[in-house]
Symmetry: C2
Subunit: 322 residues, 2 copies
DNA sequence: CTGAAAGCGCTTACAG
DNA sequence: CTGAAAGCGCTTACAG
């Protein structure tokens, strides 16, 4: 057992000539312990380089002071930024963060949640890919919520898509606008797609079925291939709305001659050629807000309900402006 | 205590009419237990939705089957990709991954390491920002190693920088080449800087002191400001070597009229304007390799020593090609 | 094949 | 102010 090599609380107790109970209290700076004793214990603990075993203390206490975060892809700019937002808030409150990546896979998400629960995390922040099942652990969703969610911070997907379509239709006069985006799974995927249909209708435009192209696994490649296919139609669209940043990047790879707007902002959107018109999501703020809601729940507050975060259009050149 | 609400191994034992010891063995599919008993225990466990408490089993076993990963910035493309590589390998071996972000801060890195150690992780994969101190835990470094490292997968920083400088000097005939990059801290920062000085010398060029510009905290902003300052010199450089992707992005923001090459490849480097000539690092492979070394050590192998990964130049337009 | 017992390293009522 | 004792939820020699 590795414990043989580590100094434990008992080692400190023996060395300091007090009981383990006293060491525990002293290191927690409990007022119950004599100042002299407290100092001596601290000195011994430092000399022996004592590090309390969190497994043991969490087990005993029934709380870990840890929060689990589940994201579809840590490498995606959006989730990475949101993750940092969660970090900011949660660590300031004395919690640690355990991150798990699901690769947008429902099964892996379930495993990730099982793992975090088995580790007895006190709370969860989850951007679900469809694998969520109730864990009996306080949970706040962001980006994409499970149907049973009682607390979530979501983007205003319909409104965001509407802004994109409206810009293409009214400012640039496009009448043949297509959508390249996420599968229509519950949550953000469906909301953006439905938002697209509704927006096109509100703008008084027709929507041929083949103008809706949905990707599956590799979004960047799908974005490229689906865009190429759209442009090969007899009546190709003159403008494309990308449902996420990687679709936009893929579209850019397929063609530069079609007007393009993206829901998510790609990294360095302003330096791409052409620079990409997209929505500003305030990623990090989203993560912060989700973490704040979780802390409220952990503090005994009521579930916070669903919040919608507004999006604002950042106009660049890919839509045809300038 | 939250345990009051969770079903424990004892609950399963009571319900199945056997001892906790038998439940433990049955769920581990130990051959010591009767097949009938085994099945019954599994049924009961599933019916009661029993989830073993990992805190308890890890405490008892003295091993967590978890690996800690410490990175300077999960949001940086390079670390995110390497992280996925670690995931790939380590999860296939049955370990879980705990990720901690340090924001390139030595103090936060120390805290992160303390946390992981307190959680009794079995091993560590670390890209250090200078906060590492021996943890008594098997550790493999990547990208940037502590001086005392006994196992690491590092980039061949000197050679990479040399390739960049050589390309600018021989293919494009530049004679005034400047460096905008990381501070000269031990490890990658120093290696790249020293590599630059050496490379310029090998190419037979002069290096005025003001042609070396080192950033501090916000690399993208530093890249922009330092580049602007360089170009405002009486004898400005005609080409710039960026020591990392964010410096390159910053440089791009400051000016397009100077030749630019970057050590790290920015995301969507081929779609930037101009597309950025940079080194291919095989990020994910780097993470995989580090994880493989860690598994070897955890399996009782000898420390693997320091490996250097070669880099290959990807030529695009920012250097002046095409 | 099964169970009673001890123990992993802590924390916290309880007694003094 | 301090200590002995119990217990968090598991696992594993030990005995049968």
């Amino acid at each position: 057992l590795s414990s043989a090599f580590r100094t434990t609380l008992s080692d400190v107790a023996r060395e300091a000539g007090v009981s383990p109970a006293t060491v525990s209290r002293a290191l927690a700076n409990s007022p119950l312990v004599n100042e002299r004793t407290r100092q001596r214990v601290w000195e011994v603990a430092e000399r022996l380089r004592f590090r309390p075993n969190r497994l043991a203390s969490s087990l005993r206490r029934g709380a870990t002071l840890a929060v689990g975060v589940v994201v579809p892809d840590v490498a995606a700019r959006f989730y990475a930024a949101a993750l940092k937002g969660v970090h900011d808030v949660v660590e300031a409150a004395g919690y640690h963060v355990l991150v798990v990546n699901t690769e947008r896979d429902a099964r892996r998400e379930r495993e990730a949640l099982d793992f975090l629960r088995a580790y007895q995390v006190d709370g969860l922040v989850v951007a679900t890919s469809g694998g969520y099942g109730d864990m009996g652990v306080p949970t706040v969703f962001f980006d994409n919520a499970a149907p049973e969610a009682s607390a979530a911070v979501l983007l205003d997907n319909e409104d965001g898509i509407f802004q994109l379509v409206w810009h293409l239709a009214t400012v640039h006069g496009h009448e043949r606008i297509a959508y390249v985006g996420l599968p229509a799974s519950p949550g953000a995927g469906r909301e953006r797609l439905e938002g697209f249909r509704a927006a096109v209708g509100r703008c008084g435009l027709a929507l041929p079925p083949q103008y809706v192209a949905l990707g599956t696994s590799d979004w960047e490649r799908d974005g490229r291939d689906l865009t190429a296919a759209l442009l090969a139609l007899e009546e190709p669209p003159t403008a494309i709305v990308a449902g996420a940043d990687l679709f936009a990047i893929g579209a850019l790879r397929a063609a530069r001659e079609v007007a393009l707007v993206s829901f998510d902002e790609p990294e360095f959107a302003d330096l791409l050629e052409p620079s990409v018109t997209s929505l500003d999501r305030h990623d990090r703020q989203l993560g912060r807000r989700a973490a704040e809601l979780l802390l409220e729940v952990l503090g005994g507050g009521a579930p916070a309900g669903i919040e919608r975060v507004p999006l604002s259009l950042t106009v660049r050149r890919s839509c045809g402006c300038e």
